[in-house]
């Protein structure tokens, strides 16, 4: 019975049975004896001085173990780390509990620990904090104006950093241009909303002097290193376990105050302490995404040739830097060229402190901003020149022969064929008929719009030189006595399906059934080293490491087989999990028998170490650049302002596909979040810094009923950066989708003179734009 080749096929996700049956173990599902529960008191003020905290009544409550404030902790726990490197960066102290001032609503002020979670919560109501409210600034642009209230009074302004990239002479581009297009963009703050909120259980073993922390994180190994630094405790005596993680979307690519605080409490109390974030806490105290404002300027020839683009932007950092807060603008700036050949590009960013929770990576992380800007800009230019947006895109597209493509932002795109994806999407949507239909409906007072996004994004993060804490990934493949294979991966999957895709790779290349391959992850005591899951790097960096380790295992198995069969490795064939001697088909040995021999270790080639395992650490030589075309067709009800998506076509190219079903799922989920950004989602703070969208009763995430029928196809342009030719797909749907929806709505409202709308496209905004009447 031949072992089927699994790579490229729709293998059902092996994770799903336990997930859909509720048999997984998230942090809150862990059951341990003698657990103490922590509850955190958070600031109700956007900015206030803490004149005093009285915890007497809380401490006196029966069942309370301890109550700690920032003053109690002092400097025994270090600052929450920011890993982004930028010489202009101002990094404020970021204590686990507020010391003298609070700077955003939701900032941790005190922690109560009790024998049960109810008592811990009751204790919070008994803590008296004497706050002296201070002037707060919520609006990013106001925060950067002279005279603004200062978030951190040790500096003379709220400027957090500056960053710029790009090349070329924009003055020359302007001089040569026939048309200049300018537009301001507001990228609203978004809340990542993983279904599982954050949660931490920390356990200290006094006898062993060891600390184990279970945390809902995307980066267990990085968290271990950072906690070692924060706690001044040896890294090798810390174990981090990321159990089942219920979604991250970037917000768990971080190190949070609560992780340091819970670890500190466990060590101080010499026991086990648990904290599970509530949804309201999640809205207040887990990072937000986006939060950028900027103005684009494009210099264009009459024939549509884009000579240059500048994008000057501001980033709303919030009050403190999280792990990668200042690292978001570079991802915007580097990708501002999109899929177009633009000789002159200039990007600037200034970070501004505000009295709000920090922004950081949220699905797409800087690239959705770049894509929205460049894809909207293309439509603005097309409108200005009265040119079809498809024609304009074709005119400026990089050609397949241009790759590797040197872009004016400094990147080299690995591979691409933008025309092919566009052609396929146009064919699927029936573009020419649609334009005729649009014209016909307009005459009836109905408003159809067609929107394009011919996006490119940057994945496979990344070369270590481009990341603050290493961009490599580890993979270990091991076969044991009985011929079962175990894979250890550092990527710590949390929904991406690598227990399936990595097993597909190993199953194919070692010729073992997929049932015999276990993929282990998310535990620093099990997986020797790793970086984590983010930046669509799972398959392209982590998967490549596993692929390379698999080849090494196979080579060793081949050497053992040759020794057992008393032939040269050159005389061996390997198929369906069996080594046979060429021309002597009944003389062979299965890989399982080889695994046994590797451990029995009596028939090994001279000098070979026993066992059958290999570890590879893959360092990518470049990023990968997936791309595609999304086309959205909408009809807008100009009386109610409602937008109906009539058709949605997505042709994505993420290089070689390991599992088409998982790729479809990633694109689908990505589009759901991109659609949320386009139509529904917006974190709102009032001007005093109060969080208005503090719950899911006011913050609208996309639900099943909001999603249209999605039509998918793919083109496949392999990446030359890694041996499997994979690129990554975790964020493509989010990055690619938003601009197509906005462009469609703006196109629909062209008869009303509408050229641009900021997100989200709420009905009231649409209705107001139509009030001026059909122009």
């Amino acid at each position: 019975m031949p072992v089927s080749k699994l790579v490229g096929t729709k293998v059902k996700r092996r994770e799903d049975p336990r997930l859909v049956q509720g048999l997984s173990h998230y942090v809150d599902d862990l059951r341990m004896a003698d657990v103490m529960h922590a509850a955190i008191l958070r600031s109700p003020h956007a900015h206030a001085r803490i004149n005093g905290i009285n915890t007497d009544a809380a401490r006196a409550l029966s069942g309370v173990v301890t109550v700690l404030t920032g003053a109690d902790i002092g400097d025994s726990v270090g600052s929450v780390p920011c890993a982004a490197a930028n010489p202009t960066l101002r990094t404020p102290p970021h204590p686990v509990l507020a010391q003298d001032e609070v700077r955003y609503v939701g900032e941790p002020v005190a922690v109560a620990v009790a024998g049960d979670s109810y008592t811990a919560r009751d204790a919070l109501d008994l803590i008296e904090v004497d706050y002296e409210p201070l002037p707060a600034v919520s609006d990013l642009e106001k925060a950067l104006q002279p005279g603004s209230p200062l978030v951190h009074s040790q500096w003379d302004s709220n400027q957090a950093f500056t960053f710029e990239c790009g090349t070329g002479d924009m003055d020359k581009a302007r001089a040569e241009a026939d048309v200049i297009v300018k537009q301001k963009f507001i990228h609203q703050r978004l809340a990542p909303i993983p279904v599982e909120t954050r949660g931490v259980v920390a356990r200290y073993f006094p006898g062993e002097d060891e600390l184990t922390v279970w945390s809902s994180t995307q980066i267990p190994h990085l968290l271990r290193a950072m906690l070692a630094l924060m706690l001044n405790f040896p890294e090798h005596r810390i174990r981090i376990i990321a159990p089942e993680v219920g979604g991250g979307f970037g917000c768990k690519l971080n190190v949070y105050r609560e992780e340091g605080l819970l670890a500190h409490l466990a060590m101080k109390l010499k026991g086990t302490v648990k904290w599970i974030e509530g949804r309201r806490e999640n809205m207040q105290a887990t990072i937000h995404g986006r939060g950028q404002v900027g103005t684009v300027e494009a210099a264009v020839k009459k024939d549509g040739t884009i000579l240059g683009v500048t994008y000057d932007s501001l980033l709303d950092t919030g009050a403190y830097h999280q792990l990668l807060t200042p690292g978001m603008p570079p991802l915007t700036g580097l990708m501002i060229s999109g899929s177009y050949k633009i000789p002159t590009l200039k990007f600037t960013s200034t970070g501004g402190f505000t009295n709000k929770v920090a922004t950081d990576a949220y699905r797409g992380a800087g690239r959705p901003e770049a894509t929205l800007v460049i894809e909207r800009t293309l439509d603005l230019i097309a409108r200005e020149l009265d040119m079809d947006p498809v024609e304009l895109r074709r005119k400026n597209f990089a050609q397949p022969s241009d790759f590797p493509l040197q872009v004016a932002t400094g990147l080299a795109y690995d591979s691409g064929n933008y025309q092919a994806a566009l052609d396929r999407a146009l064919e699927m949507v029936g573009y020419q008929d649609l334009r005729a239909e649009q014209q016909r409906l307009r005459e009836q007072g109905r408003y159809l719009g067609i929107g394009f996004s011919t996006y490119v994004e940057i994945c496979a993060m990344g070369p270590s030189a481009a990341l603050p804490a290493g961009g490599w990934e580890s993979g270990t493949v091991r076969m044991d006595f009985t011929g079962k294979a175990t894979v250890l991966t550092g990527v710590s999957p949390h929904g991406q399906g690598e227990e399936t895709t990595f097993a597909q790779i190993v199953s194919d290349d070692l010729g073992v059934p997929i049932e015999d391959v276990a993929v282990l992850h998310g535990d620093t005591a099990v997986v020797p080293n790793g970086i984590g899951t983010f930046g669509s790097r799972g398959i392209s960096v982590g998967g490549t490491a596993v692929y390379m380790a698999t080849q090494q295992v196979r080579e060793k198995a081949e050497a053992i087989a040759a020794n057992v069969l008393e032939c040269s490795t050159d005389d061996l064939e390997f198929e369906d999990g069996k080594f046979t001697v060429k021309g002597v088909p009944d003389k062979g040995i299965t890989i399982q028998e080889v695994a046994l021999q590797a451990h029995v270790a009596t028939k090994l080639p001279a000098g070979m170490e026993p066992g059958l395992q290999a570890t590879s650490v893959f360092e990518p030589s470049n990023f990968t650049f997936p791309f595609g075309t999304h086309i959205c067709v909408v009809e807008v009800d100009t009386q109610s302002g409602e937008i109906e998506i009539k058709k949605y076509v997505a042709v994505d190219d993420c290089g070689k596909v390991i599992n088409p079903m998982i790729v479809d799922g990633q694109v689908q989920g990505g589009i759901a979040q991109g659609l949320g950004q386009a139509l529904l989602e917006e974190v709102v703070y009032d001007e005093d810094g109060q969080l208005v969208t503090g719950s899911l009763m006011d913050y609208a995430v996309a639900r099943a009923e909001d999603l249209p029928q999605l039509e998918f196809d793919r083109t496949e342009t392999p990446s030359p950066v890694n041996p499997m030719g994979v690129k990554g797909v975790g964020e493509a749907g989010t990055i690619g989708s938003t601009p197509s929806i906005v462009n469609a709505v703006v196109d629909a409202l062209a008869p009303f003179g509408v050229k641009h709308i900021d997100l989200p496209l709420k009905p009231e905004k649409i209705w107001r734009l139509c009030q001026g009447g059909n122009k």
Binding site: A39, S117, Y118, R121, D122, D125, G278, R279, R280, Q639, S640, G641, L680, V684, V692, T693, L696, M697, D698, Y699, A700, V701, R703, D706, P763, E764, W767, R768
Partner: protein, 285 residues
């Protein structure tokens, strides 16, 4: 998301429930499905000392048609209303409104009585109950009384129920044959509540409107019956122009709610637009 401590009572009879409530006074809160009360308790916005759970009072779970009157017990879930053949056959509007509430989980657990007595100004039920002229039954240890839906809603989360009373059920007159009805709702996308909800119940002789009831939710702090619009339609031909003209008055004199989801101006516009559209829906369906 952990409530403050409270005592929990599960009475076996309505009498016992009323007695417990009388004893608890202002400190007591009655629970039906718990879909409004428990979230408020978890946020500690409500901290009742005593929660009286009606879940054992099976007599409040009935739907019955009784000589031209449809009676629905307070513990009937939204899902039961949505799928009940008695409701669909006798008062389809209520089934339609029930189906527009929340999501399946909410409809499976939330009750009509609990929702109505909570008095959320953007809930769906008030629009339908006002349009239909429903009567509510309020029971205390002193006995039961009946109150028109139009007298019940007083303001945001405020109703005419006394602290000692339990809403035990509601009734509507089964509409005459040929009555047309519709519900139009503009959903607040996060909560699923109505930014504006318009329920219309309409009778016509030929194309002349002989009677009409219009209930409006979401627009103001108190759901209300659009009597001015009704008056303008009664006896009139149901032409598009007449409908639009009548609907244009739905927000007149109303202090429209204004929040991040919709300004007062937009809510008023949506109320006018959807009043006209709901009437058209009723005529079409």
């Amino acid at each position: 998301m952990i409530p403050a401590a409270f005592d929990y009572i599960v009475p076996d009879s309505l009498e016992a429930a009323a007695a417990s409530l009388a004893e608890a006074g202002d400190n007591g809160k009655v629970m039906a499905g718990g879909h409004s009360l428990l979230p408020m308790m978890k946020l500690r916005l409500a901290q009742p000392g005593v929660v009286i759970d009606l879940k054992r009072l099976d007599s409040l779970r009935r739907i019955q048609v009784d000589g031209g009157t449809l009676r629905i017990g307070a513990l009937v879930t939204h899902h039961q209303v949505e799928t009940s053949s008695e409701v669909k056959d006798n008062c389809a509007l209520l089934a339609r409104v029930a189906g527009s509430i929340g999501d399946p989980q909410v409809r499976n657990r939330g009750t009509i009585g609990g929702s109505v007595v909570h008095g959320d100004p953007a809930a769906d039920w008030p629009a339908a109950l006002l349009a239909m002229g429903a009567e509510l039954t309020l029971t205390s240890s002193g006995g039961a009384r009946s109150m028109a839906a139009g007298d019940f809603f007083l303001g945001p989360l405020t109703t005419a129920i006394e602290a000692s009373e339990i809403l035990t059920g509601l009734s509507v007159a089964v509409p005459a044959a040929g009555t047309r009805a519709a519900y139009r709702k503009v959903k607040q996308k996060a909560s699923g509540f109505a930014i504006v909800g318009i329920a219309v119940c309409l009778q016509a002789d030929g194309d002349t409107c002989t009677d009409v009831g219009i209930g409006v939710t979401g627009l103001a702090g108190t759901p209300f019956r659009a009597t001015a619009v009704e008056d303008q339609l009664r006896g009139k031909a149901l032409t598009a122009d007449n409908i639009t003209a009548a609907a244009a008055g739905v927000a007149d004199g109303v202090d429209a709610l204004d929040d991040i989801h919709a300004s007062g101006e937009f809510r008023a516009h949506l109320a006018r637009l959807n009043t006209a559209r709901a009437i058209q829906d009723a005529l079409g369906g």
